[in-house]
Symmetry: C2
Subunit: 445 residues, 2 copies
Amino acid sequence: MTTARQLHLNAFLMNTGHHEASWRLPESDPHAHVELAHYVHLARIAERGTFDSLFLADGPQLWGNLAQRPAGALEPLTLLTALATATEHIGLIATASTSYNSPYNLARKFASLDIISGGRAGWNIVTTAGAEAARNFGLAGEPAHADRYARAAEFLDVSLKLWDSWEDDAIVADKAAGVWGDDTKIHPPRHQGTYFSVEGALNVPRSPQGYPLLVQAGSSEDGKTFAARYAEAVFTAQQTLADAQAFYTDLKSRTAAAGRDPGHIKVLPGIVPVIGSTEAEARANEQVLEDHIVHEHGLRNLQRLLQLEPGTLELDAQLPADLPPEDAIEGAKSRYTLIVELARRERLTARQLIGRLGGGRGHLTFAGTPEQVADAIEEWFRLGAADGFNIMPAVLPSGLDLFVGHVVPILRARGLLRQEYGPQQTLRERYGLPRPANQHASALV
Amino acid sequence: MTTARQLHLNAFLMNTGHHEASWRLPESDPHAHVELAHYVHLARIAERGTFDSLFLADGPQLWGNLAQRPAGALEPLTLLTALATATEHIGLIATASTSYNSPYNLARKFASLDIISGGRAGWNIVTTAGAEAARNFGLAGEPAHADRYARAAEFLDVSLKLWDSWEDDAIVADKAAGVWGDDTKIHPPRHQGTYFSVEGALNVPRSPQGYPLLVQAGSSEDGKTFAARYAEAVFTAQQTLADAQAFYTDLKSRTAAAGRDPGHIKVLPGIVPVIGSTEAEARANEQVLEDHIVHEHGLRNLQRLLQLEPGTLELDAQLPADLPPEDAIEGAKSRYTLIVELARRERLTARQLIGRLGGGRGHLTFAGTPEQVADAIEEWFRLGAADGFNIMPAVLPSGLDLFVGHVVPILRARGLLRQEYGPQQTLRERYGLPRPANQHASALV
């Protein structure tokens, strides 16, 4: 057994892959996004690769432009529950919005998934940018960024109260005496806040992990403040080693400043590996994908991402010089800045930028041999840029299959990744994190 | 193959059984309510008995008095998703509240379960009585009964728009042309109503059934009006054949009056079968359960059900004569009337009433031999009181096991129940109901 610091791997699953044109490849199933068998297959590949977890992104709206790529998806908590029964070890991280859910319902769903999966549930906490989602929930437009984060913080506080509303030993099960549970070990939240009023205890006992692993992915100022306070794992999009190191250092020190152990927040940049047996083959594979992009769709999406009017951008011109600063953006702030900086740094035309974003929507795309991919991962891991990686294959299932078949063995040989899962562990244990104590139990000791 | 009218059977699953003291029996697992394996076991027994469906009740609150019996439960949609992967044929009916959910989220979850289960999802639509639930969702107290039903009707209308927002052939999947979907086959609800505003299309394609089987269980005036308009199956508590016949006739004619085919609403009274190899053994089994009731808990619950102050009732006295009429009750109206009428008709003391309710909370408890149980079922079925039954075993899993092992073969021998499931069918097909057409597709034809 190695005792070296271990890499954490998360498989970010998305229908036929993260490349927007992946569904057009001959190998791809264009109905995969709603096929349980497809996701079971992916989950089992990830489990063969001894990944810590798998993850589903989400937003409660249908993106327009159905022509471009598979749209819609099975609801993540539903799909992950089905995957819980098809897997044994891997963690199951669902995205859910604090802006468009009720704490009581959502806390209960995560507790239920945590129980059903034997302690493998994780929650990627999002505040959900965009007016489209808002208008599906009775709002006229998108709530302000700061409001969304204030609501998210209160949502978390209420959820933590709900998850702690049963002490771990509240069930007595004394058949002879006719006493099933101990009402003194139930602690109703009695929460009266700005966004929520939640009176009663959760109607499900405390789950194996106490509550799901808390994951976060926004990298704006509000996002980082939130992560430092609550998150145990963070997904992030970083294009360069220097940027990733700066983000890593910043987030760890913010976490310490928030009074938490900086070792208790794991930073996982996203990487889109495009693997070939030679570097040239990898680049050719990447080119095949790029050749399948329909640029007119890409232009429309890019304009939406940058909050520009339709018709502002031209395919073969660089971005205009007078784009607004991040402060003026109400959507996904950090994604905005990352894209603008990438375009300016490399002087990309809109067409080139679309090609670069088509693979990873701002995440690092890396085409190379398995050895080169492993080198890149190890470099970031050793040089203080990552505790692990969010693996986002351009094409699924083949990209995940290649990663597990060819990159994972190298990482294992280097002592960076577990050889096998070993004894049954919760998701939090896999990430090397302690089980949270119940706030009521600890207060009474 | 028989062509006789077929009985529909639903298994109402509830931790260790419907009798409140069932958890105290030596055979019972007091942690069963949160054990997936327990529910998988039950679902497989029901599937062996070729039941049409299984069903989970629910309310978004923790009932007080944990001492009395197992409290809390896995969230039904989560649990049923896990059961979908462990079964092949049986329908999966989850209770969910129209008062404490958002149409967009809930419609999506049911569509996801319907896809994952291959068309086996059903929704028991409830409006959720009680102030406890209301206070978990930011309300000061229970909304008025009529308001809850008005909201429920609008919730259904919005949900139907969401489920029809993708035409069945919206996915084109033309790889060569680079066209995945057809935006002209997407129909955003653009709903602006009293309770909800929902702008956009659902973010999941139309499911195998179009939408889940719509089930309803309230028998108040508002409840019956709602059922006649929307429900395809109705669970009901009826104590006598005459009452059941009157309810059945009334609901069918209301359904016809609402412009629907009365054959398209299936009526399933609840029955709590307590089975013995002789009638005496069945009664003895019933007595064992009654002996395990802690009457002080029962008195507290009865007072809450009847909306009386604590201390109003005495265990060995009949109910007071001056109870309020159903109109004055804001909770579960039909349950209230049923209990009061039962107590008055049979001149029961509170203790006796608690004993009678302990088994089925107002549903018909029937102790007898398998032949007697089958006779009772057949009588109600043939005499216009039922299209099938909601089977509510007093003790689980043993009660369901006995029913499937001993009553089901009799029903099959009499040609009342399918011998086997036969070809793959959706839940709606099992109940003999047509797949609903998409409102947009039919408008265009």
